[in-house]
């Protein structure tokens, strides 16, 4: 215990902190400029100087650790004089163009000068002149205003880990600059923007469009882009979002954001938003009214139910919609339509993997706090780049690396390139075998664990059939690293789940998790992949992960929902697609998704949807899928409605309404209207009403209320036991002879700046990354005579596309990467798939690719 005196007040500290923090704890404010809560102390600006008894000179409170018996004075005539002097020096070069500067009103320098500064400066010479730089599309850089506090640089270096900016020059010539000196060419997280105390770095998204004090409404909500679920603050003026900012220390992200969360919000105000329901008449989609559209939907669905039975109807829910939306949707499909055919795009990865993991290791096995990554000693990254899929989770891995953890990567992970300790790059598409070899090796040392007998048995089977070892550089070191680690985390991306026989990769990872007693993290690129499963938007489980085939569970829901739940097994996503093609599914209701673009083999999917008798699509935009629909219903989006989302650590969070939408209806509301017209009444007054029902029926969300959720610490409980019957489908080693001899293979790039098809409508993200590029290793490109920016024709068995080339030396094998975000140029239109027998995820195929320079 440390006790010290600050301004005659006795302060007792629980743990050692700086004098500055001690003072803050006691409610005493010391002025600062280079200090920031999120950053390490720097001691550069000297504004925080205080008098300390028995110390000869003034001391900087931000760097001085509080010690027992210290007597500190934070204000005196002498101290004020020094502060005034420092500020006068700072103002020598500062342009004082506050009336024109966007920062005015929330500028720390302005506030400090107001309080301590001289009213007139004595400096009469010329000030430093540097024109404001607008060469970057997102940031304006005004180096006349910079006070060289280095907060931005420390943020970019020590927190973001991008190290894209630095202080250049020295003395009077010092300025913050990105390497290329004009455009930032960085991760565009904007976290430097958050910490700049003055108007030296500004966002061009809202430049000169409002003043910080002119905000009508400020709403704390969560991001709509990925499974991390970062907290952020939306500032609104005149019913439009002015900006999105984080709040220091708030939420899972602790005040950091990524480019999508911070700059991706503009899609909500896009001109392309649907404004009225559309109905197909004479083969063309025409504007209609809500009453007509809802009537047609109810009529047609009822008709098909009557003639072909409920099982001819299917629904696709959405990992972008809230728990409430998805809950109501699955209830509608089950109770009003009479079908268990309900699934979502998540079947392509997260839902498929998560289910198999839970079957093997028990419910909740993927529930781990992101925060926990920082304390791991070894982090094993497989199947994708966490810093692109879930950027804020990626930052925790970088943080762990700075704390001395070993980061071991299997395959490519660009964003961890400077942070990894070991990277093992298997020959193309043989990652799975490497994982199996690792598992066999680890179990050879560790033996059976004896807790999950099925898993032990599977590992034994694998070991028995295992022959010889793969001679891959680093694999032995990787094995030893894992074996010797006192605390391991495994971060698993979806790349391997989407390979043929992807369940083998899942099993191998499950086995490693089990034997190493590791923490498992699944990367999730949509905001509600977990919540969607919890809400029952899967064919075989009711809300709360209750298996449909266990009678008691079903009974309970039937009592609550007032009617029988259909007996027949439901179809998974790709079975629904098959069903549409073979006419066993006649009507499909899609809420908030775009399967034509988001699933592999676009042509095949399109044909399936065209074969339907009736297709309803509920969306914000007239997507590729909506264009095929018979009825299109405009929904509401992020900030236009309230609802809960469950992130990848199973934290249930509130996404709040901040603006009034011009048109459209909440997803759950549209559905309950249709349901009512079909004779199954749903009378919810608002989203909270739905949550009350979920809290009654779902064992995972039991007794949850919005009040409790809004406190921000609701993680659902679990006991690690499978709620469903255990499974016995164990993997067999596939003959390793399958050889991949093509020169190049096409693989999916999960970009940092885009997400699904939403980000296309966000001008800022389109400026940062305006078009798809084919990422290729530099040496390989040179062999083909390709240079950065050259256009290339990419041809697979399924199709062909033309894109520019971008050199990326962090790709260490002969894969070339293309994203699936841009209209008409998505990767998925070039590939075909086969279904994995266990997870029902698509094993993406036909990746051999020919590249021809144009």
């Amino acid at each position: 215990m440390i006790t010290l005196t600050i301004n005659d007040k006795e302060v007792t500290l629980e743990k050692p902190v700086s004098v500055l923090e001690a003072a803050r704890q006691a409610g005493i404010k010391i002025p600062t400029l280079c200090y920031h809560e999120a950053l390490k102390p720097y001691g550069g600006c000297r504004l925080c100087v205080v008098e300390v008894e028995r110390m000869p000179k003034l001391q900087t409170a931000c760097t001085l650790m509080a010690a027992d018996g210290m007597v500190v004075k934070t204000e005196s005539e002498g101290i004020s004089k020094v502060r005034r002097g420092i500020l006068e020096f700072l103002l020598i070069n500062h342009p004082l163009d506050c009336p024109y500067c966007d920062k005015a009103g929330e500028c720390e320098l302005q506030d400090l000068v107001n309080k301590y500064g001289p009213t007139v400066g004595r400096y009469k010479e010329e000030k430093r002149k540097v024109p404001e730089s607008h060469k970057d599309q997102i940031f304006a850089r005004n180096m006349e205003r910079c006070v060289v506090c280095t907060r931005c640089v420390r943020m970019c270096n020590d927190q973001q880990g991008a190290s894209a900016i630095s202080i250049m020059g020295r003395g009077n010539h010092s300025r913050m600059e990105p390497f290329s000196s004009d455009s930032f060419n960085c991760e565009y997280c904007g976290n430097c923007l958050t910490v700049c105390p003055v108007g030296a770095i500004l966002s061009r998204l809202y430049m000169h469009s409002f003043r910080p004090w002119q905000v009508d409404n400020e709403v704390e909500t969560i991001c709509s882009y990925c499974g991390v679920g970062c907290s952020l603050v939306v500032q609104v003026r005149d019913e439009s979002i002015k900006r999105v900012i984080p709040r220091t220390g708030l939420g899972v992200n602790r005040g950091l954001l990524c480019s999508r969360g911070r700059f991706g919000y503009e899609y909500i105000n896009s001109q392309d938003r649907l404004t009225t329901p559309l109905v197909r008449k004479n083969g063309k989609l025409e504007q209609s009214t809500w009453s007509e559209a809802l009537h047609i939907v109810a009529e047609r669905l009822s008709g098909i139910k009557r003639t072909d039975g409920g099982s001819a109807i299917a629904g696709i829910g959405s990992p972008r919609c809230s728990n409430e939306d998805n809950y109501v949707f699955q209830k509608f499909i089950r109770m009003a339509c009479g079908s268990n055919n309900i699934d979502s795009i998540s079947r392509t990865g997260y839902a498929a993997a998560q289910k198999y993991f839970e079957e093997l290791l028990g419910q909740g096995i993927t529930t781990n706090l992101i925060e926990g990554l920082k304390n791991s000693e070894v982090i094993f990254v497989v199947g994708g780049d966490p810093t692109a899929v879930n950027p804020i989770l990626g930052l925790s891995i970088r943080e762990a690396s700075r704390r001395g953890a070993k980061i071991v990567v299997l395959g490519n992970a660009k964003g961890l390139d400077r942070f990894k300790t070991l990277q093992v790059v298997p020959p193309v598409f043989r990652e799975m075998e490497v994982l199996e070899e690792l598992l066999v090796g680890v179990s050879g040392v560790k033996g059976a664990r004896g807790e999950k007998l099925d898993v032990d048995k599977g590992i034994r089977m694998l070991s028995d059939t295992y022959s010889g070892s793969m001679d891959i550089e680093g694999i032995e070191e990787l094995k030893q690293t894992l074996l010797n680690s006192p605390s391991t985390s495994i971060v698993f991306g979806m790349d391997l789940v989407q390979r043929a026989n992807g369940h083998r990769a899942v099993f191998a990872i499950a086995g490693l998790t089990y034997l190493l007693e590791a923490r498992l993290y699944l990367l999730s690129d949509r905001p509600n992949e977990q919540g969607l499963i919890d809400a029952g938007c899967v064919p075989d489980m009711l809300p709360g992960g209750r298996p449909l085939d266990i009678h008691d569970f079903k009974r309970k829901f039937e009592t609550e929902w007032g009617g029988p739940i259909p007996e027949e097994d439901g179809k998974t996503l790709f079975e629904i697609i098959e069903g549409a093609r073979n006419k066993s599914v006649k009507a499909l209701y899609i809420m908030g998704d775009n399967p034509v673009f988001n699933l592999p083999d676009a042509q095949y999917i399109k044909e399936a949807l065209q074969a339907l008798d009736f297709l309803v699509v509920q969306d914000l935009f007239l997507s590729e899928t909506a264009q095929l629909a018979d009825v299109v219903l405009p929904a509401l989006g992020w900030t236009e409605k309230t609802g809960t989302y469950t992130n990848l650590e199973r934290r249930i969070q509130l996404q709040k309404k901040a603006v009034n939408a011009g048109s459209g209806m909440e997803d759950w509301k549209i559905i309950s209207e249709v349901s009512g017209k079909m004779g199954y009444k749903m009378a919810y007054s608002d989203a909270e009403d739905i949550m009350d029902e979920i809290a009654k029926v779902s064992p995972l969300y039991r007794d949850l209320t919005y009040r409790e959720i809004s406190k921000g610490n609701c993680l659902w409980p679990y006991h690690g036991e499978p709620l469903r019957g255990e499974i016995h489908e164990l993997p067999a080693m596939v003959d390793a002879a399958s050889d991949f001899r093509a020169d190049f293979y096409l693989a999916l790039e999960k970009p940092l700046f885009h997400s699904g098809t939403l980000s296309r409508r966000s001008p800022a993200l389109m400026k940062i990354c305006p078009e798809p590029t084919l990422k290729i290793n530099g040496a390989a490109a040179r062999k083909l005579g390709l240079h950065e920016g050259n256009r290339v024709q990419v041809t697979t068995a399924a199709g062909s596309s033309e894109v520019p080339v971008s050199i990326d030396d962090t790709i260490k094998d002969n894969k070339v990467l293309l994203s699936n975000n841009f209209e008409g140029q998505g990767l998925f239109s070039l590939l075909t798939y086969t279904l994995d027998p266990v997870t029902k995820a698509p094993g993406i195929e036909g990746c051999e690719v020919r590249l021809i320079k144009i």
Partner: protein, 162 residues
């Protein structure tokens, strides 16, 4: 561009230090020694060799006044214009030299002999004012002394003085 030969030398330099970061400045001086100045391209290549962020290499390179980021004249004059040097009577030393050579900040004389630049503290505050010509240090200057230094260079170089 850093060629294979240079790359190997730099790899050798790295081994002399406990961590790669420490090799930044020695590598930069080495590049300058070989190529006369350090280009943006060189820094990019160095970043890859050292596995160190480009921006931080640039930051170091731009901090040290003995590292040149632009091609300079045969004799590069750097005049200190920081506080101590400006306080002594010859506060206009920079202007004086500028007038004498007929070039301003960052410019090169038409014959390519001199280039001129103002710099921050050269660490000679006690013997102000100070300037550097390439790697030579001159202290306790005044107009006359500066003139002499420049004239001496011209004389030595051209072998004749008006």
């Amino acid at each position: 561009m850093i060629d294979e030969n240079m790359r190997q030398t730099i790899e050798g330099l790295i081994k002399k230090f406990p961590c790669r970061d420490s090799a930044v400045v020695p590598s930069l001086s080495y590049i300058q020694k070989v190529k006369g100045h350090i280009s943006e391209n060189d820094m990019e290549d160095l970043a890859i060799i050292l596995q160190f962020p480009e921006a931080r290499i640039f930051s170091a390179a731009s901090f040290y006044s003995m590292l040149k980021l632009m091609p300079k004249a045969r004799y590069h004059i750097q005049v200190c214009t920081n506080v101590s040097c400006s306080l002594v009577e010859t506060e206009t030393l920079f202007d004086h030299i500028s007038g004498k050579l007929g070039i301003g900040e960052g410019e090169i004389t038409p014959d390519g002999l001199f280039s001129l630049e103002s710099v921050e503290c050269l660490g000679s505050c006690g013997y102000a004012p100070a300037m550097m010509v390439n790697s030579e240090h001159y202290e306790n200057l005044n107009f006359k002394k500066a003139d002499e230094i420049i004239e001496l260079i011209i004389k030595e170089f051209t072998g004749k003085y008006p």
